[in-house]
Amino acid sequence: MKKLYCFKNRYVDSVMLMNVGEQISRFPGVNGAECGMGTPANIDLLTGLGYDVPPETGKNDLMLAIDADASQQNELYRQAVDLLDHRKTVSDRTYYDLNEIDLNSDPYDLVQISLPGEFAADEIEKALRMGLDCFVFSDNVSLEDERRLKLLGKELGRLVMGPDAGVGLIDGVALAAGSIVKDGPVGIIGASGSGAQEVACLLERMGEGVSCIIGTGGRDLTPQVGGLTMLMALERLGKDPKTKVICLVSKLADVGVMEKVLDAAEKIEKPVAAVFLGAPESLFDGRKVRGAFSLEDAAVQTLSLLRGEPVLPPGRTEAQLEELAAEMVAKLSPERKYFRGLYCGGTFTEEAMILFSRYIPQVSLYSNLRTRYAAQLEDHHVSRGHTVLDLGAEDFTAEAPHPVFDPVLRLNRLKQELADPHVGVVLLDFITGPGVHRDPVMPFVPLIREHRDICFIATVCGAQGDPQDVEEARKALAEAGCIVADSNAQSARLAAHMMTLLERRG
């Protein structure tokens, strides 16, 4: 029996909705369960599945659809309502709006915002006017609002981290999709979430820790925003006694803004390393700031500044990577000549493409991204030749939850790629942390184990303090036959060596 329950004007975030649907589906005897807001797409989906959706249902209404025996419906409904009402908070007070909070009697330091973008700007402004820093995970905030709010933050001496900041670490506390990296002397300011996370986790693997990770959001270094958050964060870390070295992490940005940030970094009396992925080496000519050209290099340069001596990255040397590439290619049958990168970290995707274009410029790449490093796929659902996908990009997340929160999207795409007899190499990145999927790796292990005729290369970007066991995850991947690289850059370089050999083989 298919039954639909409608809750008028009830907002629940998309991750919670997904969890409720998933948990109800797992009850014995349930044929299916869905939970979603009444958007036209969700109404179409449920109607298509045979549910009777009341015509007055709107986007602010919550729909719970359960396909189970009639005798079970009441109990399942009760279970779903319990899940939806679940609120694990320490505070004994209930608030419906930021303005209800009196910081004198109930003090806070930070507001974390992950509401739909159209509603985020008003809440950021309220938080700043209350005198609080903001960490904004929400995307789709207009560029005009971003500039206006960051200027307001500057005036009030408050940081706006984001919008679209995926990773943060403040006072040892991981925000949003960040990792719990051990405490230490490196302050990271990142316009790229997964990039900052990779640098922090590599530093931890090399024995150091971080004082904080300040996410600025990917558009902070655009000419319109002018690096407002990165500049303020630099000033703060310049004064922070715990921070001894600073590392700036970004994708390639506006030249004028990058120069402005580097100028400001040079005025700070602490060593600074910086990576702007894809930037020319000449950007750092005559600069005191140490330039890096991959995320791994950024970790290495930062550590070298801190220790005052040259440092080597963890993992395999270039010669070992080349040797491993030859060994793996020799095992591949001749028709298996293409590789597929199935990434969930946006910066990992871009870093891989930058390294491919540097190491193997002769090889044509395809991607769902609009980028100068690859031709754009006509249909992002269908790979061709050597394809590198950012499965966390909007083309995919408009259709399914982001792969760091739910592995289903990437698992399905992996199955699709594995059905292609020409696929020889698959690259995967895994990200851990308290705010992401609790077991990102294990769902992939059986598939990897079943396909010994394909070469899998993976990285696990995570910290020892994360609730997932990072070492156990690496071990499980290796035992299934996957090559576990020590950084995204090493994974890409290994793939590049393999591609060179595959191209030569024809």
Binding site: N9, Y11, T89, S91, Y95, Y96, I170
Partner: protein, 55 residues
């Protein structure tokens, strides 16, 4: 990093949006309060005009 605070104090966070992020903070021992947020109700322009007249 929060320069005004003693370093031994834990961060205190207000969360607006994804509940899982609040749970992740609570699990880290952070005092986190989830706001029971609802989208602002949009008034019909006609109703708003009528209300303006009345009030």
């Amino acid at each position: 990093m929060m320069e005004e605070r003693q370093k031994e104090k834990k961060l205190r966070v207000i969360n607006l949006g994804i509940q899982m992020f609040c749970d992740a903070l609570t699990e880290q021992g952070v005092r986190c309060t989830q706001i029971k947020w609802h989208p602002p109700v949009k008034q019909d322009a006609e109703i708003e005009e009528l209300l303006d007249e009345f009030l």
